[in-house]
């Protein structure tokens, strides 16, 4: 006699989560500066930290991009710690010097780090003090990108949450839509065109490309998260009366459709009109994914915790590319924002939150998936063990959202597999 099947949904929304505590192999929130400083073009990010922070930023940036920095580090020195110099006076001096050199800076973020948190340097007060001093020229905000509080993409979350607190109030009675999360300009423009074609207006984006363009927020603001790691930003938006539209994240044809659909429903857009508008993009996305599907279908994939993009990407790869997720690790699992995503993950997927890297690598070596998505520190060592890898960080830097990037997204995963097959050395 076969045992009765448990009466649960086939997805992972009710699945147990392996919570781990141990050595983590992830970036801290400062890393977000690398893409945020390119997004807001008149903003500057001043990390108040140690030489390690400066070294992290340039190492992360140096390996991945070559760019002129609109970020810098105010390095805390022995004399600051020994009390020979007043940290606040020192910081004011550094900011004055910076702003004198760069009068084009309209928005300055003081970014807290592990050392500044531990010595309890109050950057909120510093930002308020300096804002008065530089009023009318430069706005000064602060957030923490420290590794004791934020993991990798949580830095963007903290940055956007700081921006939300400062957004102007929307006093109109008309509903408006806000897209939340730093997207590459090209992707943002695609979404804005789609919303315009759907007849949804006004549509704002957070962060805007310029400091004085930041969107208003109020009780009639409805927002779509473009990234799954924006828990704190969503909470602060809700505190200001805005309402989150629940949807899948806009990865792949299905994710993007669902994401756009949530907005269309909320704004009362006619269903037939919605389908007509999105049909061309949706078809293009499906055709583009098809190019990689043969390579990906049936292949087993493990995500090590990195950017919190793991769950939506695993959902995309499972439902649209036929991949089999083995373990989906994430630094932090936001159950509410990911509910729809989790329901679509194949039953049996091991969900893990947090990390004990050596134990996780033991599981990985036992499972030997066809593809492992991991951080830069682990990729080459795993390749050397014969495990094919995909750098997780590329998923944060590349345009992967929306219909017209769906094929590129699939290709990012297919490329390492294809390379493994073509090499004869």
């Amino acid at each position: 006699m076969t045992p009765a099947l448990p009466a649960t949904t086939p997805g992972c929304d009710a699945a147990p989560v392996l919570r781990e505590r141990g050595q983590r192999e992830v970036f801290c929130g400062l890393t977000g500066i690398i893409w945020l400083h390119r997004k807001v073009q008149d903003a500057f990010f001043l990390v108040v930290g140690s030489r390690t922070c400066a070294h992290l930023l340039q190492s992360a940036a140096g390996v991945m991009i070559f760019a002129e920095p609109r970020f810098a580090t105010a390095i805390i020195e022995e004399r600051d710690l020994a009390g020979m110099a007043d940290c606040n006076e020192e910081l004011d001096r550094v900011v004055d010097r910076l702003l004198a050199r760069r009068p084009d800076i309209k928005l300055l973020f003081l970014v807290g780090s592990c050392p500044s948190e531990v010595i309890k340097l109050d950057l909120t007060r510093a930002a308020a003090r300096l804002s008065v001093k530089h009023a009318g020229v430069t706005k000064i905000l602060n957030y923490s990108g420290s590794g004791i509080e934020t993991t990798f993409t949580e830095g963007e979350d903290a940055c956007l949450a700081a921006l939300v607190a400062d957004l102007p109030a929307d006093t109109t009675d008309a509903p408006s839509l806000m897209i939340v999360g730093a997207l590459p300009d090209v992707v943002e423009d695609q979404f804005l065109r789609l919303f315009a074609d759907l007849g949804i207006a006004p549509v704002h984006v957070l962060p805007a490309r310029r400091a004085d363009d930041m969107p208003p927020v109020g009780p009639h603001t409805r927002f779509l998260l473009a990234q799954p790691f924006l828990g704190e930003t969503a909470r602060t938006l809700e505190d200001r009366g805005a309402r989150r539209l629940d949807a899948l994240f806009p990865f792949g044809a299905e994710g993007t459709t669902d994401w756009l659909h949530a907005a269309a429903r909320s704004f009362g857009i006619d269903e037939m009109h919605f389908r007509r508008v999105i049909a061309p993009g949706r078809e293009r996305a499906k055709r583009a994914i098809e190019h990689s599907r043969d390579r990906l279908a049936g292949k087993r994939i493990t995500f090590l915790p990195d950017s919190q993009l793991e769950v939506p990407l695993a959902r995309f790869l499972a439902t649209e590319a036929g991949m089999i997720p083995v373990e989906v690790g994430t630094p932090y699992l936001h159950r509410r924002h990911l509910a729809g995503e989790l329901a679509l993950l194949p039953a049996g997927t091991l969900l893990s939150e947090g990390q004990d890297v050596d134990r996780q690598l033991d599981r990985l070596r036992a499972a030997r998936p066809d593809l492992t998505v991991c951080g830069l520190g682990l990729a080459n060592p795993l390749e050397a063990e014969g495990l094919t890898t995909k750098w997780a960080i590329e998923l944060v830097f590349s345009p992967i959202h929306g219909f017209d990037q769906a094929g590129d997204l699939a290709e990012l995963f297919a490329r390492p597999l294809r390379r493994r097959d073509v090499l004869r050395v």
């Binding site: 140690s50 070294h55 992360a60 050392p115 531990v118 080459n380 060592p381």
Partner: protein, 525 residues
């Protein structure tokens, strides 16, 4: 507080990682928050290492701070020992852990781990990467040599030497070691231990067995070499064999200490003939700016002046620990020493000096790229391209060959320079065509193509724009401007700057044809 855009050196615990990662059988337990794990990618991505660095990070979080981060450290150390079974362990704190004062040294001692444990005190808010590496190497070697007695030397055996200093993430250390090992072999000298690269803690315990030490990279090995002189009475060879002449000096120094015949190793590189051959005439007095770690910068200056016939117009280093050596060298070349770890100061110096070639680190490569000045990299900090697949030492005779090629190739070749002058009026040879070896889209040149200022639209560095907004734009008369366009593109920027400087110094309101040629005569060599 120090405002820093780019930094030449990482924190001292990264120096310690360079020692641990270079060695076998060492494990480093670092009390640090999760973000510090970025340092792994320096080794796995930049150096393409196929193993993770042997480092366990405790990765404490904010919520641990009120509780027991000390217990977290001990747990991590216990787990690391159990998993990796190292011969020796390093323990220490990164910048954040230093502030919470958990005392890894005391905690580790209390644990009585069944292997030697070296507690590192690396003050993160005072010191930097090279210092951290030197201190770690010294502390570990000292601990491993604590109770050792040098093995008796057999009579008539080959003299032996230790090669000290090569680390993980070092600039061409891998290949330099091969080159110097071969050189010693030709002299009939056996290598006792090469460390830290490839050595185990047990190897370090044998350091005293060698007759003498070769301090290949003073930034890393000087502290240890001084201690070994006292502990075992070993002499230290201090010549850094970068360049043809320096390699011959090393051979002479080694031969004298070891009592062997130097002539058997007095090979030659191709550098002397390549440099004397006529195509190299155009290298004469090329103005070169040199910046790097003190050892590489000082060695490069000698090669530049004495072996390539360049003129050294600037010399500097970022590591203050070796500032005295650099100042002595700068005096030798009659230039102001530049000892700074401020990238902006180096950029300003290069802008002022307007060299024709920059020999520097990856930082200077970026500066030179923006200023459109040819550049070759001679020193750490390193980038992925500083780990070539091919054999490319900087030291020894093969190293001298590598130096010739890598420093000369960025320049326009001698014969090419003649051809450019001959054909500059040829319609196919116009500026619009751009350089034949570059992508077809012509890039803006310093000083501007066709007289236009360099576009700074995409420039968002913290330094001032490289070309000042040109109020002097109307300084140029139409005929002088036209004449300027006839000057080959690769020297036009310089001609423009020199002429403007000449005019400004003489309070000329207009640059005429005559001004242009007066300036040319003034600056002619």
């Amino acid at each position: 507080m120090q405002l820093t855009v780019w930094t030449y050196e990482g924190p001292p615990h990264v120096g310690a990682m360079r020692i641990a990662t270079a060695m076998q059988g060492v494990h480093y337990v670092l009390h640090a928050p999760q973000g510090d794990t970025y340092a792994d990618l320096l080794f796995t991505m930049i150096e393409r290492r196929g193993q993770r660095p042997p480092v366990t990070y405790t990765t404490f979080q904010a919520r641990d701070l009120g509780k027991d981060t000390a217990e977290l450290f001990q747990q991590a150390a216990r787990d690391a020992y159990a998993r990796f079974q190292p011969q020796a362990m390093l323990v220490g704190a990164s910048c954040t852990a230093e502030l919470i004062q958990d005392d890894p040294a005391g905690l580790a001692e209390a644990m009585r781990l069944p292997c030697p444990v070296v507690a590192l005190e690396l003050p993160s808010y005072q010191r930097k990467e090279n210092w951290g590496a030197a201190e770690t190497f010294y502390q570990l070697a000292r601990r491993m040599c604590a109770d050792t007695v040098p093995a008796p030397r057999p009579d008539g055996g080959r003299p032996t030497a230790n090669i000290l200093g090569p680390t993980a993430l070092g600039f061409r250390h891998r290949d330099d070691v091969i080159e110097i090992t071969r050189l010693l072999d030709r002299l009939g000298i056996a290598v006792n231990v090469t460390a830290p690269l490839g050595a185990t803690p047990a190897d370090l315990a044998r350091l005293g067995d060698a007759d003498f030490n070769i301090c290949l990279y003073p930034e890393i090995a000087d502290t240890l070499c001084r201690w070994l002189e006292r502990r075992f009475g070993q002499k230290t060879v201090r010549t850094v064999p970068i360049g043809h002449g320096a390699t011959r000096d090393l051979i002479a120094e080694v031969a004298a200490i070891a009592g062997v015949d130097a002539t058997v190793a007095l090979d030659t590189s191709n550098l002397p003939w390549w440099s004397r051959s006529v195509d190299s005439t155009y290298l004469t007095n090329k103005r070169v700016f040199i910046f790097g770690d003190a050892t590489h910068a000082i060695a490069a200056a000698r090669v530049a002046r004495d072996e390539l016939g360049f003129e050294v117009v600037g010399l500097g280093c970022y590591n203050r620990e070796f500032a005295r050596d650099l100042r002595v060298a700068a005096a030798l070349y009659g230039v102001e020493p530049l000892v700074t770890d401020d990238y902006l100061a180096v950029e300003a110096a290069i802008q002022t000096l307007q060299p024709e070639l920059v020999l520097g680190t990856q930082m200077e490569r970026h500066i030179a790229k923006r200023l459109r000045i040819p550049c070759a990299v001679i020193s750490a900090p390193v980038h992925v391209q500083d780990f070539p697949a091919r054999y490319a030492p900087q030291m020894g005779f093969e190293g001298a060959n590598v130096l010739f090629d890598t420093w000369v190739h960025p320049l326009v070749m001698g014969l090419e320079e003649h051809l450019l002058t001959m054909f500059r009026d040829d319609f196919e040879f116009s500026d619009a065509g751009g350089a034949s070896h570059l992508p077809s889209a012509p890039l803006p040149l310093a000083g501007g193509v066709g007289g236009g200022p360099v576009s700074t639209a995409n420039y968002d560095g913290t330094s001032p724009p490289l070309t000042p907004p040109r109020a002097e734009e109307d300084l140029w008369s139409a005929d002088a401007e036209r004449e300027l366009l006839k000057i080959p593109f690769f020297v036009r920027g310089k001609a423009r700057r020199n002429t403007e400087k000449f005019a400004t110094e003489r309070n000329l309101s207009t640059i005429t044809l005559d001004t242009l040629y007066d300036a040319k005569a003034h600056y002619a060599r």
